[in-house]
Assembly symmetry: C2
Homo-oligomer: 374 residues x 2
C-alpha cells in the first residue's frame, strides 16, 4: 500500500522517474530561514502547520530553526508527528467522536498535545476522556474571526465555553485559535491586511473579555503564509501557524505584495516532476501527471521556467499542455517541473519527497502522514 520512491539517492535529477514530488532543498532551506528570521525579533512564537508537509523530518527542521512545535488538523497527523519525534503538537481543529478523542488524550500522555473546540458537548466529551486517561488536556477555543467556517463567535460565546473548560476536571483552558483562513489568498495587499485587522479586533475584544473574568489566554494562535506579517505585528497573536511558506504554490504566488507585485518573499521549492508522454500536434503535448499527481482545486499547475507552455487540463492520469511558442522543443520523454496549484492536497498524493540540491538527489523523505485523515 506504500509506493516505491521515484528516485534513488545520488542520481541526477533528470534520471528521476515521474510523476515525482520534488523538493528543492536550497529553496526550502532558505524559506525556513526566512520565516524564522522574520519572526525572530517579534516576540511571537512560530508553530508551523504540519498539514502542509505531513513529514516529521520537516517538522524537526522547523523546530531546529526556532519553531516551538507544529500544528496538525487530525489525530492521525498528530500521531505521525509525535512518533516521528515532535514533542509538541497543537491540533488546531475540532476532534469529534469517541475513537478519535480516546486516541487524542492517550497521545497527550506521550507528548505535549493541545486541541481546539467550539462546542459544549465536545468539551464535555474531551474532559471525560482526559480524566479517564489521567491527563489534563490544554484546550483552545476556536473563534470565528471572519473565515465563517468553524468556531464560536467572538465575545460572549467564547467566554461561556472558556468558563466550561476552566471548570472541566480533565481540561486546562489554553487560549484562542483565531485563524482567518479566508484572508490568506486575498490578492490585494491592503484588503488582505484589512481582513486581518478586522480579525484582530475580534480577537482582542475576546481576549480582554476573558481576562476580565480571570481567564488568561496563554496562547493566541493564528496566521498563515499569506498574512503572518500582519498577525506578528499586531500585538494580539502570539503564535503563528503558517505552513505553506516552506513550499509555496501557484495560488500563493498570485498574492500581491505592498508594491502591487506578485511573488512574495518565499521561493517555490515544491514541484511535480512530469514527463511528456505524447506529442500529437505542434501545439499540444500530454504529460503523465494528472489528477492523481496533483490537486487542481485552486487552479491548474504552472510549468516552471516555461512561460510559453500552459497546463490547460488535468484528467485522471494526463495533463494536457498548450504550447504557445511553435519554437518550443518538447518531445516525448522530455521532463519538466510543475508548480502545483495548491501544495497541501498535492503532497497528500505522495509517499515520498524526492529532495534534490542542484542536479543531484540528496534524500528521500517519507511523507509519514500521507492519507492521515482519521
Amino acid at each position: 500500500m506504500s509506493t516505491r520512491p521515484a528516485a534513488e539517492v545520488g542520481m541526477p535529477l533528470d534520471a528521476v522517474d515521474t510523476p515525482a514530488l520534488l523538493l528543492d532543498l536550497d529553496a526550502f532551506e532558505r524559506n525556513i530561514a526566512r520565516l524564522a528570521g522574520a519572526v525572530a525579533d517579534t516576540g511571537v512564537r512560530l508553530r508551523p502547520h504540519a498539514k502542509s508537509h505531513k513529514c516529521p523530518v520537516i517538522a524537526l527542521r522547523q523546530m531546529a530553526s526556532g519553531a516551538v512545535g507544529v500544528c496538525c488538523q487530525k489525530v492521525s497527523e498528530a500521531e505521525a508527528m509525535v512518533y516521528g519525534g515532535v514533542p509538541d503538537v497543537l491540533v488546531s481543529n475540532q476532534i469529534v467522536g469517541a475513537p478519535k478523542i480516546a486516541r487524542l488524550v492517550a497521545l497527550a500522555k506521550q507528548a505535549r498535545v493541545a486541541v481546539c473546540v467550539d462546542d459544549a458537548a465536545n468539551v464535555a466529551a474531551l474532559s471525560e476522556a482526559a480524566s479517564a486517561f489521567g491527563v489534563r488536556l490544554p484546550v483552545l477555543i476556536e473563534v470565528n474571526v471572519g473565515a465563517e467556517r468553524c468556531g464560536v463567535e467572538p465575545g460572549e460565546p467564547a467566554l461561556a465555553l472558556a468558563k466550561q473548560i476552566a471548570a472541566s476536571p480533565g481540561l486546562r483552558f489554553g487560549g484562542l485559535q483565531a485563524y482567518q483562513g479566508a484572508a490568506q489568498h486575498i490578492r490585494d495587499y491592503t484588503k488582505r491586511k484589512g481582513a486581518i485587522d478586522a480579525a484582530g479586533e475580534k480577537t482582542r475584544r475576546t481576549v480582554e473579555m476573558l481576562g476580565h473574568h480571570g481567564l488568561a489566554c496563554d496562547v493566541v494562535s493564528g496566521a498563515g503564509t499569506g498574512t503572518y506579517r500582519f498577525e506578528s505585528a499586531s500585538g494580539i497573536w502570539n503564535e503563528l501557524q503558517a505552513g505553506s511558506y516552506i513550499f509555496m504554490d501557484a495560488d500563493y504566488l498570485q498574492n500581491l505584495g505592498p508594491d502591487g507585485k506578485p511573488g512574495g518573499e518565499f521561493e517555490q521549492s515544491l514541484f511535480v516532476y512530469a514527463t511528456v508522454m505524447s506529442r500529437p500536434t505542434k501545439d499540444r503535448a500530454v504529460l503523465d501527471a494528472g489528477l492523481k499527481a496533483l490537486s487542481v482545486d485552486s487552479g491548474m499547475p504552472r510549468v516552471a521556467g516555461m512561460q510559453d507552455v500552459e497546463y490547460i487540463r488535468a484528467s485522471d492520469e494526463h495533463g494536457k499542455l498548450t504550447l504557445h511558442d511553435p519554437g518550443r522543443v518538447l518531445s516525448v520523454g522530455s521532463k519538466l517541473r510543475l508548480i502545483p496549484g495548491h501544495c497541501d492536497p498535492t503532497v497528500n498524493l505522495y509517499d515520498w519527497y524526492v529532495c534534490y540540491r542542484g542536479n543531484r538527489v540528496e534524500a528521500l523523505w517519507p511523507i509519514t502522514a500521507r492519507g492521515a485523515i482519521l
Copy 2:
C-alpha cells in the same frame, strides 16, 4: 505510510470512523451484474478500467462476471493487478522512459500484458526492451477519435505506426485503442451518441485501411460508463473499457438518458462517510471531509439522501455545508454519506474500502494500487 482502516469487520455502519470510503456491496454487485448482462449478447468483450477502483479484489469480481481482464493506465497499477491475481491487463496508455518500459516488458513475462502507443520512437524503445527480455509484447495504436488528448490521427498516421509495429521483432500489432473520453460526460443523450458515432466512423475507416494492408485489428478497444451502449452496438468496437459503472459519481449521475432524465442505469455504490465536526450557525455545518478526503475537480460532492443540505466548499480538511431547511437536525457528531464528484481520484486518496451490506461492515478491501502513478 499505509493508513489504518476506519472500521472493523462486523461493526454497524454508524460505528465506522470518518472520513471513510464506503462501498455499498448490494449496489456494487448489482452494477457489476447489470453491465455484464447488458453486454452478454452483444459479442463484445468487457475489459473494465481498473483505474477506477485500483483493487485486485474488485478486478477479480469483474472477471468472475465475464470480464476478460482489466485496463490500467500505469505500469505500477498493472503490477498491482498482476500480483493481485489478474492474468490479463491492457495498459491503455503510453508508457515512456526506460525504467517504466523495462518493468512493463518484464511484467509481460508474468501475465498477459499489452500496451498502447502513439509515437514511433516509443515503438522502437518498446521493441528493444521486449527483445531484451525475450517477450513479444502486444501493442495497440491509440487513435485520436475526438478527445484531442493522446493518439495519432485516424487513417494514414495509424497505418504508418502499425507497419512499424508489425516489423518490430519484440512487438505484435494488437489493434486499436479508440477511446472517446471527451464524450463520457456530455449531458445530452443525442449529442453524446453523436460524439461516439463520429468516433466510430474514424475508427471504422482506420480498421479498414489497416485491413487492406494485411494488418488485422484483433482488438478495437474503447468506451466508458457514459457511452458503452453506443460502442457495444456499433459493430466497430469489440472491447469495452467502462470503469466508473461499479461506483458512479455526482458527475456521471448528471448525464441524461434517452428520456431526458438524469441518473442512468447504474446505482451510486461509493460514498465518503463524514462527521459533522462543527455546527456554528443554524444554516452552517462543517464536515471532517475536505480536499484530502474527496476530489472536487468535477464539482462538489452531494449529500446522499438530504436534498436540503448542500456541500458548498471544500478546504484541506473541512467541508462546509449549507442547510437550506431550518428543520434539518444535524448536530456535532452526526454522520452522513457524501456522493463524490469524481470517483477515480477520490478512491486514490484511500487505502481501504469499507464494504458494507445493509447496516453491517462486511469486508475491508485494500486499495493496493492507491498512489500507483509510476
